[in-house]
């Protein structure tokens, strides 16, 4: 009886291991599909904006910003919480949506207390709807 159950347990284990070995590609694909893997901790999902981590806008960039045809930012945080600061001011706590941002280079920072989750310059195209995901490590 005990021998039978041991052998069945062993075969189940072999089956499980075989399944695990057979499907690593599928698992990593699923993780990359749902997660933000960028080193900076911020991924631009849509809207054509470009992200420069650890940069700060220059006075020239600030002058070039235009509120005539602003973009709109939506931001979510994976695996935690955080507050969003745009151009030096608090705009909301994630998840946020429809945050108006002037077209051009904007300073963006997302933080959870002392932890800075992402900081840098986000270049927002005119009239763009920008969707962003930030990873909370």
């Amino acid at each position: 009886m005990s021998r039978h159950s041991t052998s069945s347990r062993l075969s189940f284990l072999v089956f499980a291991v075989a399944l695990g070995v057979a499907s690593p590609a599928t698992t990593s694909q699923a993780a990359s599909a749902f997660g933000c893997s960028d080193e900076s901790g911020l991924c631009v999902d849509s809207g054509g904006a470009s992200w420069e981590p650890d940069k700060q806008s220059t006075s020239k960039d600030r002058k070039k910003r235009s509120t005539k045809s602003p973009g709109r930012i939506s931001l979510t945080i994976e695996g935690g919480r955080g507050s969003v600061f745009l151009n030096g001011r608090y705009v909301g706590t994630a998840p946020v949506s429809g945050i108006e941002a002037p077209s051009g280079k904007n300073d963006l920072q997302v933080r959870d207390g002392t932890d800075v989750l992402a900081t840098g310059v986000l270049d927002v195209p005119k009239d763009a709807g920008v969707s962003i995901t930030v990873r909370h490590d």
Partner: protein
């Protein structure tokens, strides 16, 4: 022709008039600039430092905050805690004011304490965390220096307040959870006692005894019926003797029918109850079980007595 040069006295008057005109003109610059009636040379405005359009100083932030806080305190004093949280939340979100976020956290914490509400305590923590985010950002180089909700020298004290609020919220959640667990525990205690299955085992054994007795009665009835049937079938038996055997045979048959039916049902129900009782006894743990190994084994025996058989058992 002699050209007449203006006299020294007239020249002095002209100089004085020019000086007066210039000084009046200069004095009027700010007034005309504010009124915007006259276009001014750009050199006058260029040197003047431009005030940011939508900047905010700590003093201006306080001016906006104080009326909200006064109204909020009145609401809290009147017991309208939920209304106070809505007031604080709206103003805090609109202004991005860390102090109003903490005032909101205070109100949520008051709700959590009075109503023993875990969700309110968790919301209080969230508000204090937002205040913490804003205050830490205030110290960051990317913060807008022209937009300050609080003075830099006040940040440390405000961070301490936020930290205390977060600790209090965590403590309140833990307290309420402990209270909830304490109130649930006494209710579950009697349920454990019910579940040892002893009563079921006793009832099952009793019914099994009744079942065996009933079956015995049925078998006896069958035997009586069979014997009397043979006697009735004998061609030498007739008259009153025949009627007597016939009546006995009928009683035997009735006894057999009732005994077998009742005994069968009682035995089936008894066995079922006994098995359920055994299972419940096992699942309730060893507390209800006797200590010795021999006592743990249930025993059932049919013992012969002077007047037939007796069913005995130990469960």
């Amino acid at each position: 022709m002699r050209r007449e040069w203006p006299s020294r006295g007239r020249a002095g008057l002209r100089t004085a008039a020019t000086t007066l005109a210039l000084s009046v003109g200069l004095a009027a610059v700010p007034v005309t600039a504010q009124a915007g009636a006259l276009p001014l040379p750009s050199t006058f405005l260029a040197k003047k430092k431009k005030k940011p359009k939508d900047g905010l100083t700590p003093e201006q932030a306080a001016e906006k905050r104080v009326p909200v806080q006064q109204q909020g305190r009145q609401m809290v004093a009147a017991g309208e805690l939920m209304a106070a949280t809505i007031l604080y939340d709206n103003a805090a979100q609109r202004e991005g004011d860390p102090i109003l976020f903490m005032d909101s956290a205070d109100a949520y914490l008051e709700i959590a304490t009075t109503e023993r509400d875990i969700a309110a305590a968790e919301t209080a923590k969230q508000r204090a965390q937002v205040a913490q985010d804003i205050l830490y950002f205030h110290l960051d180089s990317t913060a807008d220096p022209d937009y300050q909700q609080v003075a830099s020298e006040d940040v440390a004290g405000l961070l301490a307040r936020a930290s205390t609020l977060i600790d209090k919220a965590d403590d309140t959640v833990a307290e309420i959870q402990a209270e909830n667990e304490a109130t649930v525990a006494p209710e579950s205690a009697p349920a454990r006692k019910k579940g040892n299955g002893r009563g079921l085992r006793i009832a099952g054994a009793g019914l099994m005894g009744v079942g065996v007795a009933g079956l015995g009665l049925g078998v006896t009835g069958l035997v009586i019926g069979r014997i009397n049937q043979q006697r009735v079938d004998d061609p030498g038996v007739y008259g009153t003797e025949f009627d007597g055997f016939d009546a006995k045979g009928r009683r035997g048959n009735l006894l057999a029918g009732v005994g077998l039916a009742v005994g069968g049902v009682a035995l089936a129900v008894g066995v079922t109850l006994f098995v359920i009782g055994r299972k419940r006894g096992k699942s309730s743990g060893g507390a209800a079980e006797p200590a010795s190994a021999s006592a743990r084994e249930p025993s059932l025996a049919l013992v012969p007595t002077g007047r037939g058989f007796a069913l005995t058992g130990r469960f």
